[in-house]
Symmetry: C2
Subunit: 351 residues, 2 copies
DNA sequence: CCGAATAATTCGAACGTTCAAAATGAACGA
DNA sequence: TCGTTCATTTTGAACGTTCGAATTATTCGG
């Protein structure tokens, strides 16, 4: 294989200048149609492709997004982040953007990586997946004018930072709808299995349950369990709930892991028909017939890219100066109904 | 933020030439120690970082690996690929390599992406995750001299292609060991739940069971079930096995998904103490106490990178011409023992 | 058919780096 | 002191692209 053809080769073959070839590629509308065709033909014939690095050097933009890819904590809930990254790659491709991944050991290390990738002009903009309470990365990124968007709200910030663009899913609304759905199907005492506070996402989801479960005071407190995420934890938590003097007649969980555990517990207790709803609609939920709340990842990714690059282009917009236009999007999840939340209605014992 | 400093800026600040600055970065050993320090000090002071694109343009290598990131089919077994990508990013970083991801709709589309990334000099080499029977991509990549390595053997090729570098895990040996472990713990009739043939990986794993289960003829046939991957499928398959006139006293599964389903089936049948072993040691297996065979992904990734870039550097080696040195590595998995495979021994009913 | 306006194309330079070769400096033996 | 050798540093060019300005071709009204 010889060397790749360059603009000059194409130019020569098509009897035009370098620049015309460049124009055919980047702004075809300014070149005469007959010329355009001749050049295009030469491009095809020679199999010319622009050299990405040369272009980036000249234009001073890399058209590349950086994402930190974390190890999956749980395999189940982690799958969401994974789907997110997948969709990101998909939609980035449609905009002629590339996606570069990196790993990091802690937030400080992540920032070091980001700095390196950005200073080397490897990456134009970053996507932060998941935000903590008072996330230290956000301030740093804003401070250093690194273009970025986060999937996750700025939890715990009193006044929202206008320089910070973010997308998130309204878990509270999602849980609220799911609980209403359970109650509409006959449940009176919907319990909650969630995560320990403080957890931005977790607290928000719990709030959705609180405002829709129709319970008050000690009763509500008794029906809410906080535990770390995980199948085992979910099973334990559900088992404890079922032991209560006044046990729940449905369970709303903050994750599919917890819900899967809860399902096991109810089956073990011979209560296979107790309705359960999970969160994230992971493939496992689909496999075991678990109703679950699905995050609209397509929209999340689309919104993130729009915030970063505008409606269509691949020119990264700097972090906004003021909040004239909203630098964030809050999207609504939807409940995917499956067998697990209709058990009180239909006649099947848990298959 | 003004513009980033360049080699020239550093050169001027340190009173040396461009090239000396370059040397300090790329081959410090050839520059005098006192000079090196002076230049280094200037680099640090100005916060200089080499411009990656400029460097790549000049050196004609991108130091970037491309990987196709697929959507997870199952969420459980898919997690392995995910961990693989994570480790790849990790170890690539240690070699100063970057990882670029892309998605594709089918193999043809994948090749189109690969071509684009490579022709644009975006990516030096590719990692193929998973190989099919008679994989069409391999021939194409070899033909087009695209440096690559696959995680997965060239299934179904009569004569191994010496240009094709690959790494794989000896699933057969892994299953064999696990079955022996089950038998050592008292099982006489170890059943198999696997995937339909032909499936390179699946057939290989099954072969491991066949040669170690100690069963023959019709008996062995009766204890082997083939089904698509999935929790539900695993449950059904296990339920069927338990209905047999001579049911198994242990179950070996080709995946954790199947094993999880099998676990549910045994619990439902009141046989919670039937030993079960899965494959891939996914986080879910850990969560539910399922023994499982773990693929040594660290070694897999290390071997893949070594095949591509040699022992240490980041210079991609072209696809080998002959098979003087082995262009592949077959690694041995190990069994992670948990409760699920010791049930016949200890006294706990499935907690 | 001319001049002006506009469309289309070309030219020279620059993006920031490293390669290859040339130049300088230091050290040493004769 | 001088030529040689080796270590160190510098110079000019090149990688392939696009920007900005300049040039040439075309169109059109009068």
């Amino acid at each position: 294989m010889g060397r790749m053809p360059t603009v000059d080769d194409v130019a020569q073959a098509a009897q035009v200048s370098r620049q015309t070839v460049s124009n055919v590629i980047n702004s075809p509308e300014i070149v005469r149609e007959t010329t355009r065709q001749r050049v295009q033909e030469a491009i095809d014939r020679l199999g010319y492709r622009p050299h990405a690095s040369a272009r980036r050097l000249r234009t001073r933009k890399s058209s590349t997004i950086g994402v930190r890819l974390d190890p999956l904590r749980d395999g189940i809930s982690g799958a969401v982040l994974d789907r997110f990254v997948h969709k990101l790659a998909e939609q980035a491709d449609a905009r002629d953007l590339r996606v570069m991944i990196f790993t990091a050991d802690g937030n400080a290390d992540e920032l070091a990586h980001i700095r390196r990738l950005r200073d080397g002009s490897d990456v134009d903009a970053f996507v932060l997946i998941g935000t903590d309470h008072g996330d230290s990365r956000i301030a740093w990124l804003v401070e250093n004018r690194v273009p970025f968007v986060s999937f996750g709200r700025p939890w715990g910030a009193e006044t929202p930072d206008p320089h910070h663009r973010w997308v998130d899913v309204d878990g509270r609304a999602g849980v609220r709808d799911a609980v209403r759905h359970l109650r509409a199907n006959g449940a009176d005492r919907v319990a909650w299995i969630g995560w320990p506070s403080p957890s931005g996402t977790g607290d928000e989801r719990r709030a959705g349950w609180e405002e829709s479960c129709g319970l008050e005071g000690a009763d509500r407190v008794a029906l809410a369990v906080a535990t770390e995420d995980g199948v085992t934890e979910g099973r334990r938590a559900a088992a404890a709930l079922l032991e209560l003097p006044e046990p729940p007649d449905a369970i709303m969980c903050a994750s599919d892991s917890l819900a899967l555990g809860a399902t096991m517990a109810t089956q073990a207790a011979g209560l296979a028909r107790l309705p359960i709803v999970g969160f994230d609609n992971t493939p496992v939920a689909a496999a075991v017939g678990l109703s679950s709340i699905e995050q609209p990842l397509d929209e999340v990714v689309a919104a993130a890219l729009t915030l970063l690059f505008g409606e269509h282009g691949d020119d990264v917009q700097p972090n906004p100066d003021s909040d004239e236009e909203p630098g964030h999007r809050l999207l609504v999840p939807r409940l995917v109904e499956r067998r697990s939340s209709h058990l009180a209605l239909d006649g099947n014992p848990g298959a």
